[in-house]
Symmetry: C2
Subunit: 324 residues, 2 copies
DNA sequence: GTGAAAGCGCTAACAG
DNA sequence: CTGTTAGCGCTTTCAC
């Protein structure tokens, strides 16, 4: 350690001065800091990580980052972890999980101090590798009684059912769903349909599936198809705010009044939702909170503490606005 | 290396089997691969990086990831680099660059094989550290004759001027600008204003500044303020599509017809732009291409090749649609 | 509070 | 094509 020579102390003292300054005499600390400043020394964390087997690296895996609902989580995760001295490695698995397995190996190879995954891990192979690696794992954006390790999420079934009840309580009688075909959206859609069928206060048209990641255009294109086959439809639950926006724009273009003739409900509560015309009724998930809590779990685990409450349901809320 | 024992070869042969399979006999290769499969071995890249001083890590620094125009770049960057065997570390510097310096030290400490920065590096201190580190750097989303190292971007001055000409050519006579107060948006706004002033074919109101990152709400709130002070305004150049969307929604709410009474131009060509009503005229930057090219630069450099053309102007294009 | 010795797991360099 | 030797730069451990 060059900086140790410059400061006239042993390497280990320099190391301690940088990581645990209170375990070093004021004098030594001062000299090390001077030497650091003079030489522009930056500690090599590859070497540090190898020696201590604490890489201070956390991996985050999301299906995709472009235009998605996971941004708030990633944002909160990186900021929270950076503040705690960690860096975040970002991986995109693709909505079909095609890249998940290879990504996982690449990630485990870095010996991160934690892995945050979007969704619950389904592939048995991947689960096994993760468990074998011994790396703390936080699954997010979903709920399962048997997580790989830790979990911060919410129930898509409950969410879908709650939206169904909302729709029925607000007097709609002919519901419809436009949903992405990814695992989680699918479960919300299914729960929505089941709840309405069971209750019987309304009818529900077969789900219109679109491919993830969803966009505005799909909403515009799907609404006419839906209305053609099910003209009685008086409300649509969309699996994303972007879809809902597309539906609203298309409805507007066709002179279909929202919410009187057609109720529209989104998912995500993206920043634009409240500003639409009428403002969008939607489901809000506190993505930033997921990120913060996931970060917290990992930092806690890295500090050697055991996390007793390993499943955290952060819930959802239906934000009732003008569109339904 | 446990896996080497299992395969009955020396550690270095196992290492070669994994990184340069063609430099190893078919027999040895097979045995190593079997051993890997049986033991679930994953190579420790911390150790590898330390030994080879090639970490196969690339850092990306963006102001913020939430709701931003940089997503396509980050997306393309991670995917391209993952395919080349690299991982991407994500850092968020904040629009005020407040975190940039500390982030930079944390990043340099990881000894990444490359750093991709959004914007050009202004702080002299940071520039110096970066150069001293010897790490390949790609600055993006901007143009300067003297980049730290490599550059993939475009000219905000040219872009602003081009939009100004577009506005004048389309018969607008009283232009206005709503712009984020970040460095790059500011330069576009300034060039827009200067070009119109110099030409004289139109007047231009003082720029309405809003704080970055921009959102739809700011657009809605700013339009009335603008029209109050400058009722003659017949066109608005917004520094982001979200601002433009806010302006269009507010115009709609107030019964101001777009584009006949008010032309609206955005920036970014986000996915919703083409689907608005009327579709949004905007400036398109190929963010994904920036990401790919930046990745290419770094991979090339990591392969030991010298990059002779180190400044790449990927340009901009004005997408003329219905709103102006 | 400080240091000496050893080693984290891998790969560069050289030799065979 | 394969192996030996050495060492990347740090931290752990144990002693003082």
């Amino acid at each position: 350690m060059q900086v140790a020579r410059l400061a006239g102390v042993s390497p280990i003292t320099a190391s301690r001065a940088l990581s645990t300054p209170d375990k070093v005499s004021a004098d030594a600390l001062q000299r090390v800091r001077d030497a650091v400043k003079r030489s522009g020394y930056v500690r090599n964390m590859l070497a540090g990580g190898l020696a201590s087997s604490r890489s201070r690296l956390v991996a985050a895996i999301v299906p995709t980052i472009a235009g998605s609902v996971f941004l708030d989580m990633v944002q909160a995760l990186t900021v929270t972890l950076n503040d705690a001295g960690y860096q975040v490695m970002l991986g995109q698995s693709g909505y079909d999980n095609s890249r998940e397995d290879s990504l996982l190996d690449a990630i485990i190879g870095r010996r991160p101090d934690g892995i945050v995954i979007t969704g619950v891990m389904h592939s048995a192979h991947a689960r096994q590798r993760l468990i074998a690696s011994g790396i703390p794992v936080v699954e997010t954006w979903d709920l399962t009684p048997h997580p790989v390790d830790m979990l911060v999420g919410f129930s898509h079934e409950q969410t879908g059912a709650a939206v169904a009840r909302y729709v029925m309580e607000h007097g709609y009688r002919h519901a419809a769903v436009i949903s992405a075909n990814d695992v989680r959206a699918r479960r919300r859609a299914q729960a929505f349909v089941d709840t309405i069928r069971e209750d019987g206060a309304a009818t529900v048209a077969p789900v219109q599936w679109v491919s993830a990641p969803t966009n505005l255009k799909q909403g515009r294109l799907t609404l006419p198809r839906l209305l053609e086959r099910h003209p009685e439809t008086d409300s649509v639950f969309c699996s994303s705010d972007l879809l809902a926006l597309g539906v609203m724009i298309e409805a507007h273009a066709r002179g279909i009044p929202v919410p009187s003739r057609l109720g529209v409900i989104g998912f995500g509560d993206l920043s634009f939702a409240a500003e639409l015309h009428p403002p969008l009724t939607t489901v809000r998930i506190e993505g930033a909170r997921i990120g913060e809590r996931a970060a917290g779990f990992i930092v806690q685990r890295a500090a050697g503490e055991t996390v007793e409450q390993r499943i955290l349901d952060i819930g959802y809320s239906i934000v009732s606005r003008g569109s339904a």
